[in-house]
């Protein structure tokens, strides 16, 4: 298998090129995250119009974004399952069309329920099909510079929320909200163009071959394929469950300041402009934090999971200190702590995604991301209302910030319970070298069906320490032989590299 064709031209390297076309895909992620989350963050302009036109309360109108975000997170596993089946490109393009359709239909709405269904459900599902596959594609394109690529891609969110608010205001003034939503649908169609930029790296995940005599559409084989595409086997594995619990705790605390910082600043007696400036400054440090964190984690000094723990720990601490910062009416104090919060919150974001391949391996990363999004939505749904409740009970935001900081620190501690957390080295790099020397002599009859990409071969190594091979029959033969010598080499190398 390995020696069939003559050596290929250097530029067509399908496995983690770490550059070249990868940067184009990062640009696509930039535009996509701008068009998905930037639009969500700038919806406030439309809400004012909806309240005036439909005569509904602000709370009824704010359900639109809640439904949209909930759909984006809960439908994510299906998005990644479709990606596993058909590849990222068609799924992202379909998602772009779907989210545009949601906005186009919303422009014809005659009651708020129509808006829930179109902007909430349809566009939310479209975003689910777009966001996670896009993130996963970028991660497939990079290994060494993964965090930096992710960070640069995510800066789209911050920059677009600055640009979109005045733009939406202008559109609403010129065309009223109906026309503005129609044009927004057109803008969302650009996601289709971004999806077209994703050149597939290697074939999609292939499921194990059908047993002879079994039809392709029988219940058992459909269920089997769905199970494999959705990566539901991950739900039974401790590392994944640990990480998803940690992420859920992070989500409980992460959004609280975005929701409450302005109100807290006003509560402490600062003017509207001062409060708005705090938020803008926090947004700027968020963007800076993302890029700095991405660049720093790619330097390779610390393991990704260690860096994640570092940033989330700092974030939790800054949240705990936030009520103290404005003590005595000190505006510089509040500003400093908010800037620290913004920096750490931004720093945490690319790492949250970049750590996933370390835990579940490149092959299952796609499904893992989808499942993670769905599980972490629980945290988001819990966090903001809980903090609101605490504010209503205690009368100030101190309790909310303390609880949010507490959740973040709890998540940090849960992250520390990941297997092999306290070793200095990443287990994979050791096993890969040992594994590759054996790889040349392997000839599995099923590799014709399965993918032949390098990333696929190396993925089997990635899956070894944390997961049991269930449906990847390819690795079944490799497992026992590889494990034994690895255990010996692990201890030697570990002592050397620490």
């Amino acid at each position: 298998m390995a020696k069939l064709q003559p050596p290929q031209a250097p530029q067509s390297q399908p496995a983690a090129p770490d550059g070249g076309w990868g940067w184009v895909v990062v640009g696509a992620l930039f535009v996509t995250s701008a068009l998905v989350f930037g639009i969500i963050r700038s919806m406030g302009v439309f809400f004012v119009e909806f309240v005036q036109y439909f005569g509904e309360s602000a709370q009824a109108v704010s359900w639109i974004t809640s439904i949209g975000l909930a759909m984006q997170q809960c439908v994510s596993p299906f998005g990644t399952a479709l990606c596993n089946a058909y590849g990222a490109r068609p799924v992202v393009m379909a998602g772009g069309c779907l989210s545009a359709l949601g906005f186009i239909l919303a422009s014809q709405a005659t009651c708020v329920t129509h808006l829930y269904l179109t902007m909430g459900v349809i566009s939310g599902s479209g975003w689910a099909l777009v966001f996670t596959p896009m993130v996963a594609s970028v991660m497939q394109y990079f290994t060494r510079k993964r965090s930096l690529a992710m960070a640069l891609g995510f800066t789209g969110v911050g920059l677009s929320s600055f640009a979109f608010s005045p733009l939406f205001q202008l559109l609403v003034e010129m065309y009223a909200w109906r026309g503005a939503l129609l044009i927004l649908g057109g803008l969302s169609l650009n996601i289709v163009a971004c999806g077209a930029l994703i050149r597939p790296l290697g074939a999609h995940k292939a499921v194990a071959a059908l047993a002879p005599g079994e039809s392709a559409w029988s219940c058992a084989s459909i269920f089997h394929r769905a199970y494999s595409y959705l990566e539901l086997s991950l739900l039974f594995q401790r590392p994944f469950l640990t990480y998803s619990l940690a992420i859920t705790f992070f989500n409980c605390g992460y959004f609280v300041p975005y929701v409450h910082l302005v109100a807290h600043s006003r509560h402490e007696g600062f003017s509207q402009y001062q409060a708005a400036f705090v938020i803008s400054a926090t947004g700027v440090t968020d963007i800076v934090g993302r890029v700095v964190s991405g660049w720093a984690s790619d330097l390779g000094r610390l393991r990704l999971s260690h860096m994640l723990v570092l940033w989330t720990g700092l974030l939790g601490l800054s949240l705990l200190v936030l009520p103290l910062g404005s003590l005595g009416g000190s505006y510089p104090g509040l500003l400093t702590v908010s800037l620290a919060y913004g920096f750490c919150a931004g720093a945490m974001t690319p790492l949250v995604f970049a750590v996933v391949p370390e835990i579940v391996g490149m092959e299952r990363m796609l499904g893992a991301l989808g499942l993670l999004q769905m599980i972490e939505s629980v945290g988001g749904l819990l966090g903001a209302p809980l903090s609101g409740l605490l504010k209503d009970l205690t009368g100030s935001y101190t309790a909310s910030f303390l609880v949010a900081g507490g959740f973040l620190l709890l998540g940090t501690m849960v992250t520390a319970t990941l297997p092999h957390f306290f070793s200095c080295t990443d287990q994979r790099s050791l096993q890969r070298h040992a594994h590759n020397s054996k790889q040349q002599n392997q000839h599995s009859p099923e590799s014709g069906l399965m993918t032949n990409s390098i990333s696929e071969k190396l993925n089997h190594i990635d899956t070894i320490p944390y997961s049991q091979p269930q449906l990847d029959r390819n690795s079944l033969q490799l497992e026992p032989e590889v494990y034994m010598p690895l255990n010996q080499s692990k201890t030697d190398d570990a002592t050397n590299k620490c």
Binding site: P7, Q8, P14, G186, A193, P200, G202, D426, N452, I454
Partner: protein, 305 residues
């Protein structure tokens, strides 16, 4: 001569009396049926100019009192007079004497709907120091300078708000220089007027292009009506459709460009004659070739420690 001294001062607004302005009577001795009450309004000037707003709801007698403390010369006698809308009121010149370091000037004006305007008291020395009183009916709260946009067949709601509730609200549609009263009872399918204290809302339904134009809401007070204008623009759906179609065309062109570029560059780079097939086939081919480079790849792919 005053300038350097005056420039360094800030005009301080003296706390104002609004005795009886918002109540039906000021003086217990006045009979309730007495239609004209007296309102007192005073201001203190420390620099050389001050502007005050006086909001009047119904015809009253208004006594304006000006006090000037800012004169460095401290002449015992200066001239004071009154102006209305820029022109001097006849026989209003008086000699003002310096008492307790200040000059006082007082006059009573009968304010009706016709006599609203800008009243100024002027202390005349070598320079003039004045206080302007803008006597007018209450103004509308929100200034709408941007037109309200709505679509044909849709409905639009226009609102007006004041600080003090008027006796009634009236809506007009402006046709050039004329105004046509809008009667919601004769045309209930098209117009709806609702009044809620100091706010009023006009809803125009089943919009057509002729409904574009300026709508005027007027708050009728005893003294005068206060108006505010709003422009309504009715457009068809064709208007936003044009940029929308332009964006869709741009997206389609981009997608086609990207796909063609990819096909062209992969055709250029593949060694063997490529079948002009699906992308999946080509990438499969590429990945198969990728296996040979595995040794080189592993050395470049180093995980972070």
């Amino acid at each position: 001569m005053f300038s350097p001294w005056i420039l360094s001062l800030q005009l301080i607004l003296f706390p104002l009396f609004w005795r009886g302005l918002y109540t039906t009577e000021t003086n217990p001795q006045l009979v309730l049926t007495d239609p004209v009450t007296t309102i007192f309004k005073s201001a203190v000037l420390k620099g050389d100019s001050l502007v005050e707003k006086v909001e009047i709801l119904k015809p009253i007698d208004l006594e304006l009192a000006c006090t000037w403390t800012g004169n460095p010369n401290k002449l015992p006698n200066i001239t004071g007079y009154w102006r209305k809308d820029g022109s001097e009121i006849t026989n209003s010149r008086l000699t003002v004497q310096l008492e307790n370091e200040q000059y006082n000037l007082k006059r009573v004006f009968r304010i009706t709907g016709d006599t609203l305007g800008n009243y100024s008291c002027i202390f005349s020395d070598t320079d003039e120091a004045k206080i302007d009183f803008n006597v007018a009916a209450p103004e509308m709260d929100d200034k709408k300078d941007k037109p309200v946009v709505a679509y044909v067949g849709d409905s639009v709601a226009v609102a007006c708000k004041t600080k003090l509730p008027p006796n009634t609200w009236l809506w007009y549609k402006a046709n050039g220089t004329e105004q046509e009263l809008i009667n919601a009872t004769t045309d209930p399918l098209r117009y709806k007027i609702s009044v809620d204290g100091n706010t009023t809302k006009l809803t125009v339904m089943n919009l057509t292009e002729e409904d574009s134009g300026v709508y005027v809401c007027s708050a009728i007070y005893n003294i005068k009506a206060s108006v505010s204008r709003v422009e309504v623009r009715v457009i068809t759906f064709m208007e936003p459709l044009k940029p929308f179609v332009a964006i869709v065309a741009e997206v389609i062109i981009l997608v086609l460009l990207i796909l063609f570029y990819e096909r062209w560059s992969s055709r250029k780079s593949s060694n063997s004659p490529t079948e002009n097939g699906v992308h999946a086939e080509q990438t499969h081919k590429l990945t198969r070739e990728g296996n040979n480079g595995m040794d080189e790849n592993t050395t470049t792919r180093q995980r972070k420690i």
